[in-house]
């Protein structure tokens, strides 16, 4: 379980590394800082939300109850 958090986080880090090179190849030097920051912020936001939703399901206190016939 901790493994998924680790690998998921690794995935987002890899994504950011990918974006880093993407920005470096797409925009010319001296013009990239903003793009780097924007991609890093986006990846951070996405990672944070994924991690929150993942962690919230690790030790559920409520279990799904399927309602029967009414």
């Amino acid at each position: 379980m901790g493994g998924t958090i680790f690998w998921g986080t690794t995935f987002f880090i890899a994504l950011e590394v990918g974006f880093y090179f993407f920005v470096n190849t797409t925009w010319k030097a001296g013009d990239r800082q903003l793009q780097h920051l924007l991609f890093a912020t986006s990846v951070f936001c996405c990672w944070m939300m994924w991690a929150i939703i993942y962690m919230a399901q690790m030790n559920p206190l409520v279990v799904p109850v399927l309602s029967g016939p009414e």
């Binding site: 924007l38 939300m49 939703i53 993942y54 690790m58 559920p60 279990v63």
Partner: protein
């Protein structure tokens, strides 16, 4: 990063030889990076040097507008000729416009006269036809012809607008006391009114009366009613003769009129070829002279002195332009261009591109940043669409929005040229914001596992076991935990009895975590401001206590939430922990409150030493409040007193205040009001301390909006579309789909997205920006010809 802080600006002085002034301003206007200061603010418009030129330009613009109106009247579309055949100077153009105007006015007057004559003849012709009919029955009975001795009846005939006929008749009756006889007959169709040229419905009338006095009265009434009178010979042969004459004259007049209109249209269309070019030229000249009016004139009247703000980076371009303009006008002196030191606050200027402009606009709608303070826009570009998506998250809705945004972005060149309706224009301007909002909505929709509120199994089937959604006859089934769904919310939750308790707990905690993170980001942005201005006092007395206060209360709450999630079997009541942290900070497990003196809430202890740690947190949080409140005003006071005694001197840096602070009211040399500073600091502290609580609570809107969105789309899907499908009736299915689709577009895509947009806007303006953003600067408004000559700008002239 140019967007992080506004461009460094420089106040510069230009000393321009008078003969080069015009060309210099033209060159600077083409660059569009100089904001000129008004050097003669006390002079009213007509006291200024170039008042006459501005007036002349306005006069020429008036003429051009007159030409434009005439072209619209004549139904011609002004068409610009691709290549201007000759370039006019302003004087030549003025003379030319003068000639053209008088020519056009003459032609128009002549045409107008001809048209009036023409429509009068038309009316006369109709009178001759109609009035003949009035007389024929009378002629048949022969009473007038047979007895010449009897009283001769006079008569007046003519044409008047049909709608005035009843009142005309009434007035005539009263004025003559009934001693008159009115006959009238409406003309079929509309005819042109000679006076106004409009097409109106008219009626031919004949009034018979007796006596000279009645005649005078009736003539006056006719005049009052705008009833045109026409001669009508009683003699039948003369009538025919006249009719023939009128017909012949009408033919001639029609030809002349046609020729005259052709002549006018030819003149207008030859103007039309140049109209746009000329208008641009005159508007440019007017703008230049208007700018020149802000310059002050040297006593010798040989050169003009101007001051203005420029971005430091644009200096070489401006210098180059000045040099070339000077050379081109072969002035005897060169233009002097020198920076001036000033303690005035420079304008704030962010060069934006088509993507960042909309976000800069969102931030500036709240307030234009102070010069060189950190710009919230940098993070807003991501966090704004992201927080929107947290509220709007749904895969299907995100895809719909993405399609709309892609359409706008893909066709931006085409759509950019057309002037849109106000709302469409707003959507078009915000197209890149919508694009990002859509992309993040798709992502959050995947995490919420909702596509039009239907769960997707894209990351595997549910991890929960022991229950089968298809087996509906088994009664309530509780599922058994079998692991965590790797990406997003487990699809099993949708439609279960426990869906809402689970999602509410998740989304509320998520809102708090995101809120605390964003507010911390805001506080660290203020650190960047303090570091930039080397304001170490504010770092110690504002930044550090703020971080401690927020961190020790809500940062601790966030850590507890994460601990509770990741600890197996943790059932701590976090509300209870937070509340009792203040009431009894050392007593984390409610010792002695349970039965037999046992701990009342042992489950609330999440880690060893929690009680002691909470005491520590509460103490540092409380201690940070006076640190925010008192030291800063006291130290500022001491510094000011020291300066008054002349103990130390500090170089007046051009953009920093003496004490290195950005605050205006502690300007060392403009006096120091201790009570004012203290009150300001108190307000600031109270705002932060109370705000820490209320702003954190405010982020719960993320949960509320997201819940509302999910529930609304679930209602539309289950109650409308699925209910219609369940009927198995094709017609009901089509109707159900139509209702569902229009509700999705109208309610969810338009109204819900607008509400999520506004809430995201508020979270950025208030909760995020009040941590660091002063927003009391003023925007750089350069003199830019490109901006002035934009087509839409002409509407505001």
């Amino acid at each position: 990063m140019e967007l992080f802080r506004s461009e460094s600006m420089q106040l510069v002085q230009f000393i321009v030889p008078a003969e080069a002034a015009h060309d210099t301003v033209l060159a600077l206007g083409e660059i569009g990076l100089v904001q000129f200061k008004d050097m003669n603010p006390s002079k009213s418009g007509f006291q200024r040097t170039y008042y006459k030129q501005v007036k002349r330009c306005e006069e020429m613009l008036r003429k051009l507008r007159y030409f434009g109106e005439q072209m619209v009247k004549a139904g011609l579309i002004p068409m610009a000729q691709p290549a201007p055949d000759q370039a006019y100077t302003l004087d030549e153009l003025e003379a030319k416009l003068d000639d053209l105007e008088s020519e056009l006015r003459q032609i128009t007057n002549n045409t107008e006269k001809l048209r009036r004559g023409h429509s009068e003849l038309v009316e006369l012709q109709i009178v001759l036809e109609k009035a003949g009919g009035f007389f024929e029955p009378g002629a048949g009975s022969g009473s007038m012809q047979q007895d010449p001795e009897s009283v001769r009846l006079g008569f007046i005939c003519g044409v008047l607008p049909t709608q005035k006929t009843p009142s005309f008749e009434r007035i005539l009756f009263r004025a003559t006391r009934g001693n008159m006889y009115l006959k009238h007959s409406a003309i079929e169709g509309k005819i042109q009114d000679p006076a106004t040229g409009e097409m109106v419905e008219k009626t031919v009338y004949v009034v018979f009366f007796a006596g000279e006095r009645a005649r005078a009265k009736i003539l006056k009434i006719c005049e009052g009613f705008g009833a045109n009178r026409y001669p009508f010979p009683e003699d039948f042969s003369r009538q025919r003769q006249m009719n023939a004459e009128v017909t012949a004259r009408l033919g001639e007049l029609q030809e002349t009129l046609d020729a005259s209109i052709r002549h006018r249209n030819a003149a207008l269309s030859s103007i039309g070829h140049h109209h746009e070019l000329w208008t641009t030229l005159v508007r440019r000249e007017k703008a230049i002279y208007h700018t020149l009016n802000m310059f002050s004139i040297d006593v010798t009247r040989k050169c003009l002195v101007a001051e203005g703000w420029i971005p430091v980076a644009a200096k070489p371009r401006i210098q180059d332009a000045l040099f070339r303009a000077n050379r081109a006008s072969s002035a005897q002196m060169g233009t002097v261009f020198q920076p001036i030191n000033t303690d005035q606050a420079p304008p704030t200027y962010f060069p934006t591109n088509k993507v960042t402009a909309v976000f800069q606009g969102i931030v500036e709608a709240y307030g234009v940043g102070r010069y060189r303070e950190v710009n919230p826009t940098v993070f807003t570009i991501v966090t704004f669409p992201f927080l929107f998506a947290v509220m709007f998250g749904d895969f299907g809705h995100g895809v719909l929005m993405l399609l709309a945004a892609l359409y706008l972005v893909y066709n931006e060149k085409k759509l950019g040229k057309i002037r849109q309706q106000e709302i469409m224009q707003m959507m078009f301007d915000g197209r890149y914001c919508i694009l990002l909002m859509a992309i993040f909505s798709i992502y959050t929709g995947l995490l919420y596992n909702e596509c039009f509120s239907v769960p997707m199994n894209w990351f595997g089937t549910t991890k929960w076991t022991g229950c089968d959604p298809k087996n509906t006859s088994a009664g309530d089934q509780e599922c058994t935990y079998g692991g965590v769904y790797a990406f997003g919310v487990d699809p099993i939750w949708h439609g279960t009895k426990t869906e809402l308790p689970f999602l509410n707990s998740l989304k509320m905690k998520m809102s708090i975590i995101m809120g605390v993170t964003q507010m911390m980001l805001g506080i660290f942005m203020s650190l960047l401001n303090f570091l930039y201005t080397r304001d170490f006092l504010s770092i110690v007395c504002e930044f550090i206590p703020q971080v401690i206060f927020l961190g020790s209360l809500f940062g601790y709450l966030v850590i507890l939430m994460i601990m509770k999630w990741t600890t197996p079997g943790a059932t701590a009541d976090l509300y209870h922990v937070m509340i009792y942290m203040f009431l009894a900070p050392g007593n984390a497990d409610c010792a002695g409150e349970g039965a037999n003196g046992e701990p009342g809430c042992p489950e609330n202890v999440m880690f060893w030493g929690q009680g002691g740690f909470q005491v520590f947190l509460v103490l540092i949080a409380l201690a940070s409040v006076p640190v925010m409140l008192f030291p800063k005003p006291l130290i500022l006071k001491r510094r000011w007193e020291a300066r008054q005694r002349g103990e130390f001197y500090t170089a007046l840096d051009d953009h920093l205040n003496v004490d290195g602070s950005l605050d205006d009211h502690v300007h060392g040399d403009h006096g120091f009001d201790f009570s004012e500073t203290l009150v300001h600091q108190m307000i600031h502290t109270i705002e932060f301390v109370l705000g820490a609580v209320s702003n954190t609570a405010s982020y719960l809107r993320l949960w509320a909006l997201s819940l509302a969105h999910a529930q609304l789309s679930a209602v539309f899907w289950d109650r409308v579309f699925m209910a219609a499908v369940a009927t198995q009736n094709p017609v009901a299915m089509v109707v159900g789909f139509a209702v569902w689709a229009s509700a999705t577009i109208g309610v969810l895509m338009l109204m819900e997205s607008l509400s999520a947009f506004l809430h995201a806007l508020r979270l950025h303006w208030v909760e995020y920006q009040n941590k660091f953003y002063r927003g009391d600067g003023y925007k750089f408004a350069p003199f830019s010809l490109a901006e002035i000559l934009k087509p839409e700008a002409s509407e505001y002239e």
